[in-house]
Symmetry: C2
């Protein structure tokens, strides 16, 4: 038995207790929590077989009361002696995709991001936001199978693109490969078909949050997306962090959302609409190039989930909905390189080199922190990915 | 033991042998084939446990050679004496969703449909098709969890809509509820991330086809879909037929696709591009109102799958991609009511009543037939759904 300690300023102290899936050489993946730089096997710590499998889904499906109870049991157990066989060093384990993704939806919830893209793509229009933007959280479904865990390499996608001057589309590796710094929210308990989730109940359905990098091929996207939305420009890969930070750990991070004017329709309205005060940073080849503030997001996680289901659409354990690019009002808070470099016209310098979009070999890492209880600060780990050359490219 | 016979003109003779999932009272769902009006349990017929579970996925995952071999074994077994306990009457069983849906993508592959919608929505534009339409099969991801089997009631969705004259959006039950008559294609064997499926190999990855009704709330869709595509206007329900007709059964239905001009890029090109000569019909409250011909589709199933994966996106066993609305050149071949009634301006008479869009209590049934080997004709069963009033509506 071992008594585990972590430094007071750890981002993974008792205030956090995120969930992930790990393995050690020769053994099957199992569910763990991270405590400091220890990875603690939860099936062994709590003597509970729901954690002995390779995904969080069975535990998430047990519902909100169990999530509360288990969090208390972990806190208690980590305060006492812990079985040696339950504890691994972070450096000794492989981290896996923590849950099986059911349906995946990406939103577009940042007013600054949507406005910047409006100015870039519709420069002659005095109003950068489209008419529906402030009335509903615009979103679209994406490919669940393409969601990978931090550390997975990203092969540069090939596809069709056509510049305004090209007489016909050409096929080849994307030349405008970008990131989108987002947060993703994991649905623990879904809703049956025909029974929408009220906005006030959403926090009992959302299990937790992950970092989310929605890699985007802007040239493929620009050519394909009219009229049915993004497809191949996004579907090749999205990277999430290996740790799911429980929504229960983010109580202290709740902040009011920005004022929503015009007033939203009743199904999206809360007396006290809550966002989350989560600070992201984006590192490009070792340099932090932008620090997007999640607190600036116009549409909240609860509003996104209420909207997703208001037509009766069912959600399931393992559904993932992402925020869309997080951008703040300042240039160094923009969460996509197309905004940061203003469509590629204003290069940034990273590691001594000029960059607009991603080059082969580039590596991007998302990180984030948030306030936790009793003055603690929480971490989300990393969403890391390196660009490999296109196949045959 | 029983010797089963079916009438020579059955749509479910030896030339078809579709796969489905059935149950009888008090027992778990299992995989079956349909032979005439008999439902034959395949685990019992073939003494093969891969068919003893509630989905087709484990069998589909075994790959193309197994699909060929099993089809031969079923044909042989049905030619001899069949164990009594393997045989049920169609009327005595419940049919279930035949496979677990992984990712779902809907295309927009009919030139007639896309042109009609262009004329309806952009009447001032002399060219009804958008610039990308003849270069790539436009498609978008949809909600897998909303796909239901024939016979499931469809609750009218509520959502936001805003007519051109409305000062602000209103919330309420959709008043322009529509259908889309489509075919869906089931991926049996997918591709790993980074390894696209060549267009010439697609028929070894596609397991079979189902009828697909993509119920659509046109008013919700019109307000939400710019710029990221359809979401709530589609995500409440899509209905499939309970029988998956194997692509192996559709060899005799292969026909050349319409001439594609301008020439497609090499990754979409086949020496002999093949479509499928499948005739659909749409029954509305008992009257057949339209007969969409799948043979008229511009983009083929092989092209859709090659396009979906050309950026390296992975597909999985159970992926479903649908054709988009099937419309032919004639008015009575249009596969959506918005086209058939020209945006609601030209009502049709069904069962003695005028209709534009769907009323509560209306029932729609899709059916289809195709040529099979040796002069046989194949059926797809039905995709049937009835509209229930909106919740609280």
């Amino acid at each position: 038995m071992t008594r585990l300690t972590v430094p007071d300023d750890s981002l993974f102290g008792l205030a956090n207790l995120p969930y992930g899936v790990y393995s050690v050489a020769g053994q099957e993946p199992r569910v763990a929590t991270r405590f400091g730089d220890h990875v603690v096997d939860l099936a062994l710590l709590l003597d509970d077989p729901v954690f002995a499998g390779p995904t969080l889904n069975p535990f998430m499906a047990q519902g909100h009361e169990r999530w509360v109870a288990v969090r208390e049991r972990i806190t208690e157990a980590l305060g006492g002696d812990v079985p040696d066989e339950a504890v691994h060093d972070l450096g000794d384990v492989t981290l896996h995709l923590p849950f099986e993704v059911a349906d995946y939806v990406d939103f577009y919830a940042s007013e600054h991001h949507a406005s910047n893209l409006g100015r870039l793509f519709r420069p002659d229009n005095p109003e950068p936001l489209l008419p529906n933007w402030k009335h509903l959280p615009v979103g679209y479904h994406g490919r669940s199978a393409s969601i990978v865990v931090s550390g997975t390499d990203v092969v540069r996608p090939s596809g069709q693109r056509k510049g305004p001057a090209d007489p016909a589309p050409v096929f080849g590796p994307s030349v405008r490969l970008d990131i989108e710094a987002e947060l993703g929210f994991v649905v623990g308990i879904g809703n049956p078909m025909g029974e929408p989730i009220p906005v006030a109940d959403a926090d009992r359905h959302i299990f937790g949050a992950v970092l989310f990098n929605d890699w985007s091929a802007r040239d493929i996207q620009a050519w394909e997306y009219v009229p049915l939305g993004p497809n191949l420009g996004k579907s090749f890969a999205s990277t999430i962090s290996p740790w799911v930070v429980p929504l229960l750990a983010l109580d202290a991070a709740r902040v009011p959302t920005p004022v929503q004017e015009p007033a939203v329709l009743p199904y999206l309205a809360l007396d006290e609409p809550w966002g989350l005060d989560i600070d992201l940073e984006v590192e490009w080849n070792g340099d932090v190039v932008t620090r997007p503030p999640y607190a600036a997001m116009y549409w909240s996680p609860a509003q996104m989930l209420a909207h997703l289901t208001v037509n009766g659409a069912p959600t399931r354990t393992g559904d993932l909905f992402a925020s869309g690019t997080i951008s703040g009002p300042e240039k160094d808070q923009r969460g996509a390189f197309i905004e940061l470099t203003w469509g590629g016209k204003e290069p940034v310098t990273v590691a001594g080199q000029e960059r607009t979009f991603l080059e082969d070999g580039d590596e991007v890492v998302l990180r984030a922190t948030a306030p936790g209880r009793a003055g603690a600060r929480l971490g989300f780990g990393e969403a890391r990915g390196r660009i490999l050359p296109a196949v045959g490219g």
